[in-house]
Symmetry: C2
Subunit: 275 residues, 2 copies
């Protein structure tokens, strides 16, 4: 299949001037679609990019499924034109998409993962926080910090040591039996699974420092494509072990999140939910 | 002429994972070329992108000039591949370029310009500061703050109110007869003209707050393509006039900078330098 292309003067390429979404398709149907559309619209509005019409957005997934699970990636750029950073007088955004078959890493749901703390700190930029824009060099730099395949994710904090997210997932933790995730009004990407869990009242926003993280009762990293990975081992920037959490117990967050995604929960799943 | 294209999975498009240069060509030859190459190399190294070979970089401008002055734009992306933010095992960077004829805005050299202070503040990210990477949404957001064509540039400060740069130019000022420009180790793009002026000892780095700006003796915005624009009028975020500086006097910064660029200096130019 030929990939869509953009020309040299597309502002998505030139400046990262656009937004994207990565959507789980189950039997050809997008999961948490309303949340993805909402974030896409919010991102376009924040950047001042005309929102593509709903029919065009829907057309990106309307077609025959080639696998039970796929990932749909959507990119909206401001299109070509403008003089330097100045906007074109009549912007013509580009909407590009691609779908590829997908299989989640089920073993990570069950056994949990090792995560490390990243050295790079996320910069505060309230004007861009929360949306899934195309300026993702901080994430790329963070992901370059380790090559060890036994490390599944890296946790990102801001310059003040407040935890924000993982490189491509949101962070969740349990304290006094309640579930929390960091606020994302200064940096980070507000995931759609995170939004759905907050909307259901399962998770609340709270601050958590790097120093306080080892003392939480449990921790997870999660997104709407991979599902929920319990954190089994927490490593420092220097790969020292800071904490190990037991995994074999009922997992309230995974159960609720995987119900939203149509994935099995390792501990409480009905058999028909297994994919 | 057909523009070069990049595919959907190019990391420059997906994440802004790359760097660029905008180079003045005079009679087909790049101006301040060593500084542009140095910044491109530094940017690639900072991001961990293999540096394209010098022959490939030079080939972007080796060809017949189509106009006395042109602008060459170079983009280097990390290329396609990788899983999410993780790098491809064997990255194959893309080097793309385009040249277009150009004419500087000579009237702005002579009469000076009006600049305004932007509301958006630049985020501190030392890992990315100084290099000309493709994550430029802050600049795009800043440039959206005004449509008034009588305003030539917008000045950007950080969250602490320290001045950093203009949206597509560097900032310079004179105090006690000496010339200064802000340090760019936490944010901003270190321009090649700025680098050349520092190398010649004409300009030194110093801090300047938004509050102190109106009291400087003179101010300029400048880059290696447009040359040096004296600031005649400084406007606040709300378009209130904060200061007016006289323009009709010998201009040490413009003279030295325009000699480097081969442009006329409005006040002291030899006739043969006029383009």
């Amino acid at each position: 299949m030929t990939l869509p292309q953009v020309p040299f003067d597309d502002r998505g390429l030139a400046y990262g001037d656009g937004v994207f979404e990565t959507v789980l398709l189950r039997n050809g149907k997008p999961v948490l679609w309303a949340y993805h559309v909402a974030r896409l619209v919010k991102g376009c509005q924040r950047l001042g990019i005309p929102v593509p019409c709903q029919e065009a957005i829907d057309a990106t997934w309307q077609g025959n499924a080639t696998a039970p699970l796929e990932v749909l990636k959507l990119i909206v750029t401001r299109g070509s034109g403008g003089r330097g950073y100045a906007l074109p007088d009549t912007p013509t955004p580009r909407l590009l998409s691609r779908r590829t078959s997908f299989a989640p890493m089920v073993e990570r749901w069950k056994s949990g993962v090792t995560v490390r703390i990243c050295r790079i700190r996320l910069a505060h930029q309230p004007a861009l926080a929360g949306i899934k824009h195309l300026n993702r060099l901080e994430n790329v730099m963070a992901r370059q910090e380790w090559q060890d395949v036994s490390i599944a994710e890296g946790l990102l904090a801001d310059a003040q040591g407040q935890l924000i997210e993982a490189t491509s997932m949101n962070l969740f933790w349990q304290q006094h039996g309640e579930l929390f995730t960091p606020p994302l009004d200064t940096c980070g990407v507000a995931g759609t699974l995170r939004a759905a869990l907050i909307a259901e009242g399962a998770v609340r926003e709270a601050n958590l420092t790097l120093e306080a993280l080892p003392a939480v009762e449990r921790a997870w990293v999660a997104n709407s494509v991979q599902g929920v990975w319990p954190v089994a081992t927490l490593l420092s920037e220097d790969a020292d072990c800071l904490q190990r959490w037991p995994i074999n117990q009922p997992d309230k967050l995974q159960t609720q999140a995987h119900r939203l995604l149509g994935y099995a929960s390792t501990y409480t799943a009905s058999p028909d939910l297994f994919c």
